[in-house]
Point group: C2
Chain length 303, copies 2
């Protein structure tokens, strides 16, 4: 089997490379500037910007290459499954050559929530995120380190990767602002949650914020359900969810480099019935991106 | 006039000292270990832990000293006004010698929300906070700096002030965990919002989180109102609120050392009617503490 990583020098590409190192497949690595031919390639992972994915994936499909894409390019396409294997792995069956891997924040939030949705049905989520700079790739990680050093030396360093200084600061997610004031990242959490959970009645309102953390996203979610439940029942479903690790107070440093999504701080909302407060933390580069893509490939190749 | 600062060497005490430097009053400074006499002192600011405030304030009252307290000691006492001058300055009239200054996060959140409450009535707030280390005083600020330097030098440095590492990490607010899983800081936002807005029907459910920021708290609040309104109307009320500065995307670095609370990112919640998403940012040591105490004193002494 011949597998390509497109965007192999990026932060997600590098993680995929590590995950694939023990496979028997022959690996072909492209950076985003390589001239790429897909002839003879069975499976390609796309870890590049949406615009480039949209250019390259049709070429890959012509060569009969199976495509797993981390960008937004195909996520809302009704013919493309948007898959978190532990949650909606069954959707892989109807793929037509392309499978989309979801937005990292959405994946990390849904990992503990999916089993609760199946049992009590999510009506509405109010989410606030604490997102790592790795979401902007290797450059984002470098900027946080450089800016922090400068700040401690009392030198000003203008931001280059982000529109705001990231050292000792928090700021709104830098994705495009939409007409109603939500940024793209916030609307992805709404749209992708609906598609993955296969329920168009769910509403997600989010505030997406970058924090000075290297590679782990955290999400505070207030989740209203249709049915009543006990807190112990909710905790037991979360603790037994595949790929989720229960921990009272997980932090980004706990979850860094870990495959599991950590979940804790579960409380019954004291202001409203059938509503839960939860805190989910996950490595953005692993379950938020590379690991999820790798697991999609595993499911397809085992099939 | 003779004014004492109790806890003058702390982070809040130091800010009060700066604010009082141009007054004509004679200043008397105590640290938390001083042996203190209140004889002849007209007004005392208490910037010490709750337990010490509870010991000292009764002594100050015996000497006829007017007491402004930043701790939780008296905040829930029905005989003690809990005051943000721009919001409920009228409550000062019924003081009996002690006035409490509210929890910093609550103050920063309510500054833009109070005029909206008066017009549309708040029903429920879902809040997630991004709180600076200065909430734990000078020691918290020092720990963030030291831990960050160590991390960048790839040295481990065990946390001393906080229960978790604060450099490049976020973690649950370190206040005492209550029986239902909310920490004390979270329940303060509920209880103090009700007392300050004089409305026991309001519900606040919060997730309080420390972030690696030195002195400014940020809050993402999803606020449901009883009455319908237009977004432009809400923005105009916020922009005209005293002590509030309108800014599309304010960050902690914008609000540091500023007296105003900054508010932006206002959106109509697309999942529910009569509901607003807002983002409030304020200097925790100024409007969150010292400045609010100073403004209480100004109101009382002008009276």
């Amino acid at each position: 089997m011949k597998i390509a990583i497109v965007g192999a020098t990026g932060a997600v590409g590098q993680e995929l490379l590590k995950l694939l190192q023990n496979s028997n497949a022959e690996l072909v690595l492209f950076d985003s500037k390589s001239s790429i031919t897909f002839r003879g390639i069975d499976l390609a992972f796309f870890c590049v910007e949406s615009a480039l994915a949209k250019q390259l994936i049709p070429l890959a499909l012509q060569s009969g290459t199976l495509c797993i894409d981390s960008s937004t390019a195909y996520r809302s396409d009704p013919n493309v499954p948007l898959v978190i294997p532990e949650i909606n792995g069954h959707a892989l069956q109807r793929h037509q050559g392309v499978i989309a891997s979801p937005n990292c924040t959405t994946t990390i939030m849904l990992m503990p929530l999916a089993p609760l949705h199946r049992k009590f049905q999510i009506k509405r989520i109010v989410a606030a995120t604490y997102q790592a700079v790795s979401g902007a790739g290797v450059k984002g990680i470098g900027e946080l380190e450089k800016q922090t050093r400068s700040y401690l030396e009392k030198k000003e360093l203008a931001p280059e990767v982000f529109p705001y200084s990231c050292a000792f600061n928090v700021f709104p997610h830098e994705s495009t602002m939409g007409p109603h004031g939500y940024v793209a990242e916030e609307m992805k959490m709404h749209e992708e949650s609906r598609k993955i959970l296969e329920d168009e009645t769910i509403g997600v309102t989010a505030t997406c914020v970058r924090v000075p953390v290297f590679r782990v996203h955290s999400i505070a979610a207030n989740v209203e359900f249709a049915s009543p439940f006990e807190k112990t029942e909710a905790i037991s479903l979360i603790a037994n969810a595949p790929g989720v690790r229960w921990n009272n107070n997980p932090t980004p440093l706990d979850a860094a480099l870990q495959e599991d999504v950590f979940c804790g701080r579960v409380r019954m909302d004291h202001t409203q019935p059938n509503t839960l407060e939860i805190w989910a933390v996950g490595d953005q580069l692993l379950k938020g991106a590379a690991l999820n893509m790798f697991q999609i490939a595993e499911k397809l190749c085992l099939k």
